[in-house]
Amino acid sequence: MYVAVKGGEAAILATHDLVAEARRGDESVPELAVAQIREQMGLACGRVMNEGSLYDPDLAALALKQAQGDAIEAAFLMRAYRTTLPRFGSSEPLDTATMAIRRRVSATYKDLPGGQVLGPTYDYTHRLFDFSLMDSPDVMVGLDPTISGQEGASRATAAGDARVKPEHDVKPLDSHMPRVPDILGAEGLMEEEAPPEGDPRPFDLTREPVTFPADRDVRLQAMARGDEGFMLGLGYSVQRGYGNSHPFVGEIRVGEVAVEFVPEELGFAVDLGDITLTECQMVNQFAGSKEVPPQFTRGYGLSFGHSERKAMSMSLVDRALKCRELGEAATYPAQQDEFVLYHSDNVEAAGFVEHLKLPHYVDFQGELELIRRIRKEREKRLAEQQEALPEAAE
């Protein structure tokens, strides 16, 4: 029998209650504090800050809590909040050369001024579960020695957990760590990157509509907030052959950079605080052209928090998207700015994919009516042909 879809409002309000219950889960398990998420799920917070285009670790943690850990839903919360914030102005350009570095690796030089600094990385963990994290609330800092013990060192003693709070090199890091592209640039081997004429304020795609072909400031901004998974897939495609690229990691650096702002009434820069950034500079071959001798070209990636995968993927796609400026053919998806920019925004993509959940029965009825009628007309036509056939045979 016909059920009119009445009571939509009551149903909607009930979904709000249900999602609140689902978020909380079993109430016998203690509630997560936002600070716990911020401190212990820092990489997830970094992703939410990147895709939400807002540097605020506390809000990112809150977004993750409210969204039950759904990174895209959390990024959506960040963006919906961000869009309502008044703008006091734009900061001075950040200077990553002055970064307080915690991690810095280069694949292009065995050693370089400042050295290689491994820092906090999962790169050389063996992805073995540390089961003691499962049930012990107070595991000390440091991995289980069965996973992370030093070569030749004895295994954990029978006395139990042998881990100790690790002591690192107390030697301070070299304050002078030139960026690798700058080293190449000094030799004239790296493509020069000068700001556009007049050094205009960069485009802001959250306030202005994008037109194509898109300039590099637009592309970099779109990729910085683009979906990590999508950027990773595109970057990977470039490496596998869907893009003419031969990348080397010139340098990845992670650390803190000061944000400075010049209030109009003061006229000099004020330090607003530090933010954590990951920067990747990818070095690529370039054969040169009639005008330009062979040199290296740059792919650039920058992201909030410690998020190397994102910064690396971005730098691969950045280089691929430079094809127009460098006179290369734009054959593959990662080289097509419209394709990359329109489809990397996961909040937009999720909205449009998920809108298919909304009722479409008016349009579907139109399709039903059409298909039924075309089939009926076809059957009629076939029946007429059948009737006509025996006569033709006589």
Partner: protein, 308 residues
Amino acid sequence: MTVHQSITDETRPAYNYAYLDEQTKRMIRRALLKAVAIPGYQVPFGSREMPLARGWGTGGIQVTAAIIGPDDTLKVIDQGADDTTNAVSIRRFFERTADARTTEATDEATIIQTRHRIPEAPLKAGQIMVYQVPQPEPLRKLEPREAETRKMHAWAEYGLMQVKLYENIARFGEVTTTYDYPVMVNGRYVMAPSPIPKFDNPKMQMSPALQLFGAGREKRIYAVPPHTSVRSLDFDDHPFRIQSWEQPCALCGAADSYLDEVVIDDQGGRMFVCSDSHHCETRRADGHRGAMLADASALHLVEDEAKP
């Protein structure tokens, strides 16, 4: 540094009237005026990120938020009905952020925000239709690149669209587009009417109401002023035609409205009822009775307004 916006008064509530800040409203209003001056042309605008998901009406919501004021009465429909979940959600949004007076009565509304339908009751002068648009580019399925479709509009090169429609006819004997059926506006721009059924296309032609279209995710606004030519694309030997049903609405008996099909059992039983819920209720209140109204009423599934 560049100051984009002055600091707002701290004593005001956190959100501005109708959610959007005034600078954003000005930007949308400027786009709307250009859209009205160039009927059917898609004006790019700085679509804001909204607290509702992209694809869920953020374009229509931004347009409504930029035009609505205390003198307005707002009606929101989805699939023709006022009580579909997303229509309820959007109506709540404006009740909360703009203290909007709302209605389900088409003739009482000054602004009608819609997804997928134009009401059956004729629109009047002074009314504004706001359409939610998922894909504003009528040529997008033929040419995915924006840089190319923009040139096609610039040069009024619509041959590709004609070819596609004609291929349809060659293959199926008719144009098989049933919704979002492309129209030519003021003899110049091919326009997507949004995914309304082609049944509703004739209602756009020379309508006395102002029609505004908002595509939030795609960041485009376009418009059809009142009394403007809106012609559905067709061919002399295959004129445009709309859907028709073999039976009238089972609840109100209307024979000239767009009908939704409702599956009523697993034996192939179907009933057809008006998609415009307010139109159907109004007709029943006026004493029109469809074949299944008594059954539906006995089960308290709909109100039989005419019953004593």
